[in-house]
């Protein structure tokens, strides 16, 4: 059962809009930290909207890889994927693109933008 309004995305937006409003009146480190806080809230809003679909897609795409991120990282470092380099590279690029879409979508090269 849902809780009362506002729902979570609306709460995040409310806090972000408030911080955006006061950022211009702040100086120095407070201003900088307010901008960082805005950034983090925008990341949280995008993650809430896109995260579940991205996670499901990645789970399907990485089904044949070690399920644990640390195990995959260790195998790559030790050369365990040297023979499958060309298959692994696009998968990892796609994984990073997914992360960037949540952190800062405009950072992507036009060839990787969804819009």
């Amino acid at each position: 059962m849902h809780r009362d309004a506002p729902e979570l995305p609306e709460i995040l937006r409310t806090v972000r809009e408030f911080i955006e409003e006061i950022t211009g009146r702040l100086n120095g480190q407070d201003r900088y930290h307010a901008m960082c806080a805005n950034y983090l809230l925008a990341v949280a809003e995008r993650e809430l909207a896109q995260g579940p679909a991205v996670d499901a897609a990645e789970q399907a795409a990485f089904a044949h890889l070690p399920g644990d991120k640390a195990a995959l990282a260790a195998q790559i470092r030790s050369g365990g994927f040297d023979a499958q380099w060309d298959e692994l590279f696009p998968l990892m690029l796609n994984h990073v693109i997914n992360k960037v879409r949540i952190s800062k979508p405009e950072h992507l090269h036009p060839m990787h933008r969804a819009d």
Binding site: C36, L40, F89, V100
Partner: protein, 339 residues
């Protein structure tokens, strides 16, 4: 009166100790004036002040380490001060090293250097009309500074031998990455590529280690002082090239690889002319891929400082979510889409 658990403002006591430290070195008549706080807290404290001796007056900078990170990638104030002296001796422009704190100063670890007037903000240096001339001469100046530094006998900085980056810079990054305890499979692709493409053993030189726009004071005439020597170590000269040319340090001017200001060819040519050593573009590329790894690890370090509760800050939290932006540029560079 302060309550026992709310510490008093430390500043008056520090300024009094600084006054005594100055008088130990410049005599009882020496005075401090125009004291400004640049940074207070965090991991260091920086004050600006005038040293007044009779009719003469000199602007100086007080820098004190207040906190040492566990497993820190940064060298301590004492070797930093020695590096300023070595750099100055070899004609590298630096803030003049004036004196180091001694135990009787009760100022912990730190030093006093000369103040250098100028600009450090990359946005202004890359775009303001005031710095047009500085941008014109940047490639040649940066190349000549690096050539002078790299010509120093590394034995003069033998105290840097023990820093992990002097032994194997890639292994040093991986040791830190593993300490922070967060796996990054895509980052490991670059690590593996670096392992498989290590350049032939190069000559070993004294490196600045963090040579980029933002870490130098510039005037309309060009570079006036090279700052931030805490990443200095011994290694391959092209490591300083890769860091200066790293896409992350172009501040949006992606088509100007040398610090967001200049092109590679005049920079490489000026270094070859000044040092007598040719620049291998492929080796620079290896160090740029290494630079992405290092810059990612530094961001992971900041995020770790935040979530481990060591030093919480929205800025450090943001570093964690910025790591993938570097990771993306690193993969695009490996693919040849970014140069």
């Amino acid at each position: 009166m302060n309550a026992p658990n709310s510490p008093a403002d430390p500043l008056p006591a520090i300024i009094e100790r600084l006054r005594l430290a100055v008088r130990r070195r410049f005599g009882e008549q020496a005075e401090l004036d125009r004291i400004d706080v640049a940074t207070l807290g965090g991991s260091n404290r920086t004050l600006l002040f005038d040293l007044v001796e009779g009719a003469s007056r000199r602007r100086l900078v007080f820098r004190q380490e207040t906190y040492t990170l566990p497993n820190s990638p940064f060298i301590a104030p004492h070797p930093q001060f020695k590096l300023l002296q070595i750099a100055q001796k070899h004609g590298v422009p630096v803030p003049e090293p004036v004196f180091e704190f001694a135990p009787e100063d009760e100022l912990d670890r730190g030093y006093v250097v000369g103040f250098v007037e100028g600009e450090t903000l990359p946005r202004r240096l890359l775009h303001d009309a005031k710095f047009a001339r500085a941008r014109e001469v940047f490639c040649v100046q940066a190349a000549e500074i690096l050539a002078r530094l790299h010509a120093a006998d590394p034995a003069e900085a033998a105290f840097l031998e023990e820093t992990p980056d002097s032994q194997d810079p890639l292994a040093a990054q991986l040791a830190r990455l593993d300490y922070y305890g967060e796996a990054h499979p895509a980052l490991e692709l670059a690590v593996r590529w670096l392992e498989r493409h290590r350049p032939a053993a190069p000559r070993r030189v004294l490196l600045h280690g963090d040579f980029r726009v933002g870490n130098m004071i510039m005037g309309p005439d060009g570079i006036r002082a090279v700052l931030d020597w805490e990443c200095s170590h011994l290694g391959a000269p092209m490591e300083d090239f890769g860091w200066l040319c790293l896409r992350s340090w172009r501040f949006g001017n992606h088509d100007l690889p040398v610090g967001g200001i200049g092109l590679r060819e005049p920079f490489y040519a000026a270094y070859a002319a000044a040092s007598g050593q040719q620049v291998d573009a492929e080796e620079v590329r290896w160090w740029e891929i290494f630079g992405f790894v290092r810059w990612m690890v530094l961001n992971i370090m900041q995020a770790h400082g935040h979530w481990s509760e060591e030093r919480r800050s929205p800025a450090f939290a943001a570093c964690g979510r910025n790591t993938c932006l570097i990771e993306y540029e690193m993969l695009m560079s490996l693919l040849g889409h970014y140069a």
